[in-house]
């Protein structure tokens, strides 16, 4: 029972760590590159405009998709590792 509890706690901790990293990237591409850091990235040109504009209209969405699939794949591995899969 205790080991079960410790196992569940460790699984949850690993999940929260993965979520934290994912959300840092989530915030970095949208609130960072596409908005607050846009003036700093103005020098990098992409198709007639700057990198910040690309992140605002394309880059963020593509990154979001990557983040969710990475999370789903990684969590499936964690589920098996900790023996909590269905």
């Amino acid at each position: 029972m205790t080991s079960d509890k410790a196992n569940a706690a460790a699984y949850w901790k690993a999940n929260v760590r993965l979520i934290t990293w994912s959300l840092i990237i989530w915030a970095l591409v949208s609130y960072g590159c596409a908005m607050l850091l846009r003036p700093m990235l103005a020098g990098i040109s992409v198709g007639g405009t700057d990198l910040g504009f690309w992140f605002a209209q394309q880059g963020s969405i593509i990154t979001f998709i990557g983040l969710i699939f990475h999370y789903a794949w990684k969590m499936n591995k964690l589920d098996k590792e900790f023996g909590v899969e269905e």
């Binding site: 929260v16 959300l23 504009f53």
Partner: protein, 589 residues
């Protein structure tokens, strides 16, 4: 065949398909009615969720908003997709593990409180009812433009079709019609975009064309667009915005609001396993991205098309003569969504930014006497095939697509409302002994009542239709999302904390919105003018949902830390929600 006949054919065929699916997918039990039996494949659910989520606003209005606002309105693109990251990681898998039927179900059980459940039902109904008004109105616009019926006839037809598959099929019928509706709407949206991208940039993939070169001038498309709009006194399309705080908070409100929308959350209850809920969120975003990556391309290309149509030889040369205007301008003039007024009586159409003081001198030198053309943002997508001179069947497709987008979202919202009423209000709070058969009947009756209410509101739209959508996102962000998240991520969060948090978030957000938009949206009753210099720290009312969410979190933590911890069985419930093991069994309650 006339255009009207083609439109009738496309819309009629799509309706026959939806009704056929409804007959095939009749719900036989409450489990089928509420969550489609819980056996929907993650990719199927992804497609259905994409249609559920992409409303008349996404299909009809969004590209027009981006075309008008350029970079500044990228907030919609990021806000309405970034919410799925939150949903996939913070809510969907755990709520699926919990394994019940509705969003208030989780809030009521997790916070062991009838008051919390009732508060959640009230928030859900406010959010979903305000949202559904826009769908009925959107369907009405599409019907009246393409099928030559009056707006109200259009709304009645839409209500009858939704009635046929939602009342009988429940979530099961809705799921499979949404899959069909997704296919219809995505084809309708992308085909005209591909042709326009080919015409302007030579690239058949619109998102690549957006960052490609303009075929005629050889310049990058966005650089060309920046040039032509600046010549007319407008801000550059890619220009940066000054008020970044408001931009951040608005995007955050849309993201948190999206993740907190009940009709989207319940779609993730229909997949068999926790792992499926995670994958399904990814698939949903892929299906949404097909439209959301196309929309900014449509926006910039349509804006460029419009300017070059009005000024065929550039802004310095004489503008297009009114007599020579293209056919699509004439069609849309009859709807009143394009208006022309010859202010300088030269018989030509001048379109420029007459509100920019720096441009007044140039305009006067050119003999212009004010902007003469107003184009409603909403026609951009609907008129796209005509602007690009595409064949009649593409126009028919757009008609079916716009109606599919409105109906699929309306059905999802109506199910969220009816399940909250029959399951949470009637079964759990009023009459727990109700039989399965009677609960089904109650669900169908509440669905029918919700459709009638939505139809009534669609026919008599409150004057504030645009504002209420901001209200729906603001309330979802400030109430449901924070309590759902804390219910999963904080074992210590108790009933009092959750209720105080929800009420605080709701009240503060409503007060802020009412202060600028009028008390209960009654025009003229606003306490402060709704202008950026009057906003608190430059935060617009539509951006305030994220502030409401922060207040909700803060109040909930404060109150729960000074009151008793939740009982042991609730802490065990949180533990069980956090691990996927055993989700299949949890369903059979």
């Amino acid at each position: 065949m006339s255009q009207f006949a083609i439109n009738m054919l496309f819309v009629g065929a799509s309706f026959a398909l939806y009704i056929g699916i409804a007959i095939w997918a009749r719900a036989g039990s409450t489990k089928e009615f509420y969550i489609a039996g819980g056996g929907v494949h993650p990719i199927t659910n992804g497609m259905a969720t994409a249609a559920d989520w992409m409303s008349a606003a996404s299909f009809i209005s969004m590209a027009g908003l981006i075309a008008a606002g350029g970079y500044a309105n990228s907030t919609y693109l990021m806000g309405w997709t970034g919410g799925y990251v939150l949903l996939a990681m913070l809510l969907a898998p755990y709520l699926r593990k919990f394994g019940k039927f509705t969003v208030p179900d989780f809030i009521g059980d997790r916070f062991y409180s009838r008051g919390a459940r009732l508060t959640a039902v009230i928030c859900l109904v406010i959010i979903s009812v305000t949202y559904v008004i826009g769908q009925m109105a959107g369907a009405g616009v599409a019907f009246s433009r393409f099928l030559e019926v009056s707006n109200s006839t259009g709304i009645w037809i839409a209500a009858a079709v939704v009635f046929a598959y939602a009342v009988f099929g429940g979530m099961k019928g809705i799921t499979y019609t949404q899959v069909a509706q997704y296919v219809v709407l995505i084809i309708a949206y992308t085909i005209p975009a591909i042709f326009i991208s080919l015409q302007l940039t030579g690239n058949p993939i619109p998102p690549l064309g957006l960052f490609g070169d303009h075929a005629e001038s050889g310049l990058p498309l966005l650089q060309k667009l920046d040039e032509v709009v600046r010549e007319l006194g407008f801000a550059a399309y890619t220009a940066d915005v000054d008020n970044k705080l408001n931009m951040v908070l608005f995007t955050l409100s849309l993201m948190i609001g999206t993740a907190g929308l009940p009709h989207v959350i319940i779609r993730f209850f229909t997949v068999p396993k926790v792992a499926d809920a995670r994958w399904s969120a990814g698939w949903t975003l892929i299906f949404i991205a097909l439209l959301y990556l196309t929309a900014p391309a449509v926006a910039s290309m349509a804006r460029l098309n419009l300017v070059t149509t009005i000024y065929p030889q550039g802004a310095e040369a004489p503008a297009l003569a009114y007599e020579e205007r293209p056919e699509w301008v004439k069609t849309w003039e009859t709807t009143g969504l394009i208006k022309w007024e010859d202010k300088n009586s030269d018989g030509r159409i001048q379109m420029y930014n007459d509100a920019a003081p720096a441009f007044t001198e140039t305009a006067q030198a050119r003999g212009w006497n004010g902007n003469e053309l107003t184009v409603n943002n909403d026609i951009l997508v609907l008129a796209n095939p005509e602007i690009a001179n595409l064949p009649g069947w593409v126009v028919g497709l757009i008609a079916a697509g716009a109606i599919a987008a409105a109906l699929s979202t309306a059905a999802g919202l109506l199910l969220a409302i009816s399940s909250a009423i029959s399951h949470d209000l009637i079964k759990t709070l009023i009459n727990p002994k109700i039989s399965e058969k009677n609960e089904m009947r109650a669900a169908r009756i509440s669905m029918a009542a919700a459709i009638l209410l939505a139809t009534y509101l669609g026919l008599n739209p409150p004057g504030f239709a645009a504002q209420v959508v901001a209200l729906a996102f603001g309330i979802a962000a400030a109430t449901l999302f924070p309590v759902l998240m804390m219910g999963i991520f904080s074992k210590r969060m108790n009933d009092k904390g959750a209720i105080c948090g929800m009420v605080a978030g709701l009240v503060v957000t409503l007060l802020y919105i009412f202060t600028y938009l009028g008390w209960f949206f009654i025009p003229g009753t606003n306490s402060l003018p709704n202008t950026p210099d009057q906003w608190f720290m430059g935060i617009s009312p539509a951006s305030f949902g994220s502030v409401g969410a922060l207040i909700n979190f803060a109040v909930a933590y404060g109150v729960s830390s000074v009151t008793a911890a939740p009982p042991q069985e609730i802490q065990d419930l949180v533990e069980s929600v956090r691990t996927p093991k055993g989700a299949g069994g949890a369903l059979n309650h």
